[in-house]
């Protein structure tokens, strides 16, 4: 059995989730606290992947990152990154595609915390960052976990975007969801079933863990 598509899928999901976490925490914090007029526009942009067909995103990525145009060429020359039909391109596309799944839970987690917590910390002489990392984030762990898991699971489940930008190169950009499609087309139902069942079981387990942890069932069990 070829494990490559599964390995690529989970590698992509882990890398994407890690980078998303770093981006999303400051972004969510900004969204909760800003009074800027640009907020609705930024919010809209972040939420676009929720409603837009993945192929639309994939198509624009493909056009934008193509070495044949100025932007893709610039990235290629400046950073030495070739984003079309490469793992790097998959990561960039996945980050944008899964952004709302990470930002929204963290944003709502932060926004339901009483504002007085921030103010109390300020009055004690603590900086914004100390307040964020020592006071605010530890008090919305459930939202952080939800964001991490949703972003991870959503990246695992990607199909359209990765197919367009990645091009299904075996061992490089062919992820499990594409492999299933290919195997079904080739009437290899056994292989398709293998990938499908692995994804099914792992996704089920991850989501179950979240509900167990956030519902406090594990704590009760250990007691």
């Amino acid at each position: 059995m070829n494990w490559d598509p599964l390995l690529i899928t989970f590698k992509l999901a882990v890398v994407t989730t890690a980078i998303l976490l770093v981006i999303s925490v400051p972004l969510a914090y900004w969204m909760v606290n800003t009074k800027s007029r640009s907020k609705p526009f930024i919010e809209t942009l972040i939420s676009m992947p929720l409603v837009l067909p993945p192929t639309v995103l994939g198509f624009y990525f493909l056009v934008a990152f193509s070495p044949g145009n100025a932007f893709g060429n610039w990235i290629n020359e400046l950073l030495g990154l070739k984003l079309v039909f490469s793992f790097g391109g998959l990561v960039v596309a996945s980050i944008i595609y899964s952004l709302p799944f990470m930002v929204h839970p963290i944003q709502s987690g932060l926004s339901i915390l009483p504002h007085s917590l921030t103010e109390a910390s300020q009055v004690m002489g603590k900086s914004k960052w100390t307040t964020l990392f020592k006071v605010l984030l530890p008090n919305c762990k459930a939202s952080l976990l939800t964001g991490i898991v949703l972003a991870f699971a959503h990246t695992v489940g990607e199909f359209g975007v990765v197919l367009m930008i990645g091009g299904s190169i075996p061992g490089k950009t062919k992820v499990a969801s594409i492999a299933i499609y290919d195997e079904v087309e080739a009437m290899n139902y056994g292989a398709a079933n293998f990938y499908a069942s692995v994804l099914f079981i792992i996704t089920f387990c991850i989501l179950l863990m979240v509900y167990l942890i956030n519902g406090g069932y594990l704590k009760r069990f250990w007691k």
């Binding site: 103010e119 910390s121 004690m124 002489g125 603590k126």
Partner: protein, 291 residues
């Protein structure tokens, strides 16, 4: 000496209000801000703490300028070294009692202060508990202790006792008096409870529509005319019911309901919910020992 002279336009829901506060508070004073909700009491505290920026004006503390809009001076709340007790206490749920206190301190030398405060506020047995497992009174004591860890000169209390029941209130009023004296604080308190104000504070500033309309010592502020009576209590009218030719007025004084007989002319300007003073000077009270 705190000198405040500020102006701020406040928008709440659909109404606008001009907060225009001008006052001086001497070092070591315990001053109460009194007034209806929306009169600008909390906003005044928040402006003092630096959590709200005034549109115009100055705040100077012991000749040091904290706010001076003309010269674009604004000291951040982080640098003001103020103790602030929030209405909802704002205890950090992820930290234990001890960690809440430690988070408030900046230097290692404050270990001694923390130990002292734990002792004073009787938090010793609760050190490792999380705030949400504490009772209201315990949370309040922790909030008070936490506000004092960094040894502030000014303590701001935003209705600190409003959510507590009567017995615990009395006890905590004693704590506030104690810390105010022991730490030589200048304290500004927001309170609606006239009994509490009389007990704790030396001066009251009455706010209405964002302005200080009256100020003075509590007993003068809360009684319109001076009565040389031996007995006077402040209470709230609960019920007015006619009986035969007179009316019986039930007044809630602290946690007791007292019935007072009144005639129709006396009751004319009074309604249920009014704050009243029950006073008497021509009767002979009897003392019973209760403890």
């Amino acid at each position: 000496m705190i000198k405040i002279d500020i102006h701020k336009r406040l928008r709440a829901h659909d109404s606008e209000m001009n907060l225009r506060i001008k006052c001086k508070i001497k070092k070591g004073e315990l001053v109460t801000l009194y007034g209806e909700s929306g009169a600008g009491k909390t906003s005044t505290l928040r402006i003092l703490a630096g959590l709200l920026k005034p549109d115009k004006g100055e705040i100077t503390i012991n000749e040091v300028s904290w706010v001076d809009t003309a010269n674009k001076i604004f000291i951040a709340p982080q640098k003001r070294n103020i103790g602030y007790v929030f209405q909802d206490y704002a205890l950090f749920p992820n930290m234990s009692v001890l960690q809440n206190l430690e988070f408030a301190s900046n230097k290692a030398q404050n270990k001694k202060v923390i130990a002292e405060l734990i002792e004073m506020m009787e938090l010793g047995d609760l050190q490792n508990r999380k705030p949400q497992t504490l009772s209201g009174g315990q949370q309040q004591r922790l909030a008070l202790a936490r506000a004092l860890v960094c040894k502030p000169n000014i303590l701001l209390l935003d209705e600190p006792l409003a959510a507590l029941d009567y017995k615990i209130r009395l006890k905590l009023q004693d704590y506030i008096t104690r810390i105010h004296n022991e730490y030589a604080l200048t304290t500004i308190l927001i309170s609606h409870d006239i009994g509490e104000i009389m007990k704790l504070s030396g001066r009251v500033l009455v706010l209405d529509q964002g302005k200080i309309v009256r100020q003075g010592i509590p007993s003068e502020i809360f009684s319109n005319e001076k009565i040389s009576g031996k007995f006077k209590f402040i209470g709230e009218i609960l019920k007015i019911e006619p009986q035969d030719v007179v009316l019986i007025v039930s007044v809630l004084i602290q946690n007791n309901v007292v019935k007072v007989i009144a005639n129709k002319s006396e009751i004319q300007s009074l309604n249920v919910g009014d704050k009243v003073m029950v006073a008497s000077k021509a009767f002979n009270p009897i003392l019973y020992k209760i403890e």
